[in-house]
Amino acid sequence: MITQKIIPMSMVPFFTLVKKEVKRFMKVIVQTVVSPIVSSFLYLLVFGVSLGNSVTLKSGVPYLAFLIPGLMVMGLINNAFQNSSSSIVTSKFSGDLEDIRVAPVTHNQIIWAMGFGGIIRGGMVALITGIVGSLFHLMQRGELLLITHPFWTLYFVITGGLIFAFCGIFVAFLAKTFDQLSAFSTFILLPLTYLGGVFISVENLHPVWQTISHFNPLFYLINGFRFSVLGVSDVDLTTSVIVTLIAVGITYSMAQIALKKGSFNRW
């Protein structure tokens, strides 16, 4: 019988979970990556190109350029959320979540691995959306849309990916049915995204909605990301950085609670 030495508290389980996450979504790439890119392409075509010419923003930024970072963030957060939540739910169905529970894998390793899985998938969708958007910009405005502050783009991809991957963990571990999972997407994630400034600047909203938007953490993420791409946004960078960091902390705590209170058992 062959035996091996197991290194105590190694990082191998973490990297294994990340590898599994990436392999999983790459095996269904049409559903996980290509499909959101097609949606973004259509948004760019309909809103950015066709309707964009009739939209004037107070900041003077062309609407297509304004829309591209918004769609990139939308792709990032939706896919980060979908990745962790669907991974956990399908594992509950197949029963392999129990394998992780009975193995010497810590909650932190699970949470961060799911978080990185979300960043990778969400980041891929955001990057490709950005490339497609930039090509649209080239065709309409004669120049590629280049990123103004790449460091801050990376920062908001990481924090945005983590926030929504952690949200996915929270919902999927506590959910007992598919209905509960889709209710979160429909009644919380979707309104937050649309009212956070993906498609419109809050300056164009009624003052009441402007005030409400300031309580939406996505508003700061979207505007921080928009600042990193365009160099202008509705919110100053420092506020966006602080709010997104706080959101990472809160959603991480929610994920920890979900792993403690939620179920690893099969559905």
Partner: protein
């Protein structure tokens, strides 16, 4: 040091304010190193709750579980490395093939490069020609073998088999029995739950019978048969008479003959049917 010690283990499920279900009511037993211990009981007796408590899928209400002297409740990361588990239900992930599943399983246990062990198990469990197939492409028997390979990738010292042969054909069942005996010879301790009493009789050094959350018998299969089953004797004597006796399986033949005033010298034909574990089990759970 025992491989496993269960100490006064209790598990109560609170269904609502008025209804509590005591799944385990103070279970005590131990498994010695290199021993195969069978846990028998009817459906809902508490077998899977007990297994789930050992693997941390369930949190006991009170009591303790020690694996090679370390408490599962206090240091689960240490005890988990010593345990391999074959769940009752087969996992059914549609994304990955056999080799990928075993690679991930190794990674969960901190083994980054476990190719040699995986190849050994895949060959040993006759999965080598199906190594690149996904689970849905495997037959029921192959899935069972994959579950066993998964449980063994990290070379555990204690193997938990939760009804490993449920729904498999006779040939595969016997090959799995042979494999479990090999594991015992390698020093691995085994906790086996099963509905097949002949499986427990053939494999287990000792058995525990659990019913309604209580361990009502613990000992060797011979002991339970002797205590709770009957011996049936049919014989023909020189005078041409047929005699049929039913007595406790623990009694010697000479004792039974003496009690019925029959001499050995008068017997011309005799048939003895020894007690079965099935009979003893039925009697114990209905006590």
């Amino acid at each position: 040091m025992n491989a496993l010690e269960i100490k006064n283990l209790k598990k109560t499920y609170i269904q609502n304010a008025d209804k509590k279900v005591e799944a385990l009511k103070g279970i005590n037993f131990e498994i010695k190193q290199g021993e195969i211990f069978g846990l028998l009981g009817p459906n809902g007796a508490g077998k899977t709750t007990l297994i789930n408590s050992i693997t941390t899928l369930e949190k006991p209400t009170s009591g303790d579980i020690q694996v090679f002297g370390t408490s599962v409740l206090e240091k689960p990361l240490i005890t988990k490395k010593q345990i391999g588990i074959v769940h009752q239900e087969v996992i059914n992930t549609g994304f990955f093939d056999v080799l990928e599943i075993l690679d991930f399983q190794s990674g969960y246990y901190g083994l980054a490069n476990n190719k040699t062990r995986i190849e050994y198990l895949v060959k040993k469990l006759a999965l080598d020609t199906h190594a690149t197939k996904k689970i849905k492409q495997l037959s029921g028997g192959m899935k069972r073998r994959l579950m066993i390979a998964k449980a063994l990738v990290h070379s555990p010292k204690l193997l938990l088999l939760d009804e490993p042969t449920a729904g498999v054909d006779v040939e595969l069942r016997e090959s799995l029995w042979a494999f479990v005996r090999e594991l015992k010879n390698e020093g691995i301790s085994v906790l086996l739950t099963t509905h097949y009493l002949e499986e427990a009789e053939a494999l287990c050094d000792r058995i525990g019978i659990i019913n309604k959350g209580e361990l009502i018998f613990c000992g060797t299969p011979r002991e339970v048969i002797a205590k709770y089953s009957t011996k049936k004797i049919s014989l023909k004597t020189k005078d041409g008479k047929q005699h049929h006796f039913v007595d406790s399986a623990s009694k010697e033949l000479s004792e039974i003959l003496q009690k019925n005033q029959i001499s050995f010298a008068d017997i011309i034909d005799i048939q003895i049917t020894e007690g079965k574990l099935e009979e003893a089990f039925t009697k114990v759970v209905n006590l």
